[in-house]
């Protein structure tokens, strides 16, 4: 447990010790706000946060891998992984410590979008349940992308490569469930297969949470995604730490 705590603390502090956190937060908050209002937030004349949440998957596809790419690639490149893993810290503790610290950081980023719900509350009488569900869904989605990102970060010593691979993998998960993709797929594939691809997509489960009902199947989907990619990260790291 000490190992986990030590890594978690160091990582979370590390974000704010370098300009990384601030650059990320400024860009994330700018785009989160810009996309919300650009897509006709006022024209809809509805006091809800749908126009904020629907943009998040695409924003996260780029933003989350940018926080995840350095997790292990940097550690392996500078050789500090040898320091970390010769302290009394297991690989699992280190992987989880880094993952949860990055997740916490993304939660902070989401928390800083609080002016948006405040605006909505000021303008009308929104359904708070929907907003809270939206935030929970976003947090799960961030966790899933982060798990994917940390896997690819452990895979390559090169941060650019791990970033690109993570973006592609995350984008596939999102785009598989987009209406345009589904329409195209249904013209060449049987309906059963198309809906199977749809249910494997992150988009469908995120949309479902956005509708306000947090179902077990959606939560399980995100948890399986996180646990699976994180375990894969542990395994690959144990295998490759010394190369």
């Amino acid at each position: 447990m000490n190992g986990f705590k030590a890594v978690f603390k160091r990582e979370l502090k590390g974000y704010f010790a370098t300009p990384v956190a601030y650059v990320f937060l400024v860009i994330f908050l700018f785009f989160a706000g810009y996309l919300t209002f650009k897509n006709g937030f006022f024209e809809l004349r509805q006091a809800d946060m749908r126009s904020f949440f629907v943009n998040l998957p695409l924003l996260f596809v780029f933003m989350v891998p940018s926080t995840a790419m350095r997790l292990w690639a940097e550690e392996r490149k500078t050789g500090s992984i040898e320091l970390l893993l010769t302290l009394p810290i297991t690989v699992n503790q280190a992987v989880l410590g880094k993952f949860f610290a990055a997740w916490c950081f993304l939660a902070i980023a989401l928390l800083l979008t609080i002016p948006v719900p405040i605006t909505v509350c000021y303008l009308g009488n929104p359904d708070m349940g929907l907003i809270i569900a939206g935030y929970i869904g976003s947090l799960f989605m961030a966790g899933a992308f982060l798990a994917i990102g940390s896997f690819f970060s452990a895979l390559s010593k090169n941060q650019v490569i791990s970033f690109i691979l993570a973006v592609v993998a995350s984008a596939i998960l999102v785009y598989a469930g987009m209406p345009t993709t589904m329409n195209y797929l249904s013209s060449i594939m049987p309906a059963g297969l198309v809906s199977a691809i749809g249910t494997m997509s992150l988009q469908i489960h995120f949309e479902s949470i956005l509708r306000g009902a947090i179902q077990l199947s959606d939560v399980a989907y995100f948890l399986i995604l996180i646990v699976g990619w994180i375990s894969a990260c542990s395994i690959i790291l144990d295998e490759r730490k010394a190369n």
């Binding site: 000490n2 190992g3 705590k5 030590a6 890594v7 603390k9 160091r10 502090k13 590390g14 010790a17 370098t18 500078t78 050789g79 500090s80 992984i81 040898e82 320091l83 893993l85 010769t86 302290l87 009394p88 810290i89 297991t90 730490k241 010394a242």
Partner: protein, 262 residues
């Protein structure tokens, strides 16, 4: 008579046995590791006692670092095992890591941290808290002479200071076994001297394993040396014995012995 003779005898015997058992700190048994087709370490075995400074000597690529990484539980051996401080490196890697101080080659550190926060992180990981932490830091910072850079970012430090921070990290929990991979590599003569002083001062109560390819270093601080080339132990002797046996400087001995395998 206050106590009987046999009792005293068995007491002595037990005490001697205990001493003997305690003396061996590192015991390596047929350790082997390959990287693809390359055999980095080939079935090496040796023991190191308490109070010994063992110099691991060999040309670049001889397998020194690989052997040390296995002892520090960073790499898993293909076959064979070792016990460090009574803990097996395969079955109890965390216990091994707890009881050793390890300085990796080139002393990797977290560059974006300050020396203070870095040492505090190491304390966190080693579960040194409260009063103990203050004591440990108060002791280690002056003894590694890093007071003047204590609040500086590691990124901005010179090579010598980085190495000393690495040493501080390895020594902070006062380990019984020290594994130092080329601790003086790339330092200027003064810094080399200081690091050697530091190591010599600790030598009595610890078991220290040092790898190097600098021969004067072996003469200066080691009381036993193992010459290793291509993963095999070629010589296991003391520096003075070696010189006597081969009638020359340690450098000639080294070249002579390692050349045969090249």
């Amino acid at each position: 008579m206050r106590f009987k003779l046999p009792d005293f005898k068995s007491l002595c015997f037990g005490f001697c046995m205990k001493l003997l058992m305690e003396k061996i700190m590192i015991s390596v048994k047929k350790l082997r590791r390959t990287f693809g087709p390359i055999v980095a370490v080939d079935d090496i075995s040796f023991d190191v006692d308490k109070g010994q400074v063992l110099g691991f000597l060999g040309p670049n690529g001889a397998g020194k670092s690989t052997a040390m990484k296995m002892l520090a539980c960073f790499l898993v051996p293909d076959s064979g095992t070792a016990t460090v401080n009574g803990h097996d490196i395969i079955t109890a890697p965390i216990a091994v890591r707890q009881s050793i101080g390890y300085l990796a080659e080139n002393a990797p550190l977290y560059n974006e941290m300050t020396v203070a926060s870095f040492l505090n992180f190491v304390c966190d990981a080693r579960n040194i808290r409260g009063k103990d932490r203050k004591q440990a830091l108060d002791k280690i910072v002056p003894s590694c002479s890093i007071e003047s850079v204590y609040h500086q970012t590691i990124d901005t430090l010179s090579k010598g200071y980085r190495r000393r921070v690495g040493l501080a990290q390895a020594l902070i929990h006062d380990p019984d076994v020290l594994i130092l991979d080329e601790p003086t590599d790339g330092l200027d003569p003064n810094q080399k001297y200081e690091v050697r002083q530091l190591i010599s001062n600790m030598a009595k109560e610890k078991c220290i394993l040092i790898s190097t390819h600098i021969l004067e270093e072996v003469e200066a601080i080691c009381d036993r040396t193992i010459i290793i080339a291509k993963g095999n132990i070629l010589v296991d002797s003391t520096p003075s014995d070696l010189k006597q046996k081969y009638h020359g400087s340690l450098e000639e001995v080294f070249r002579g012995i390692t050349k045969k395998t090249a």
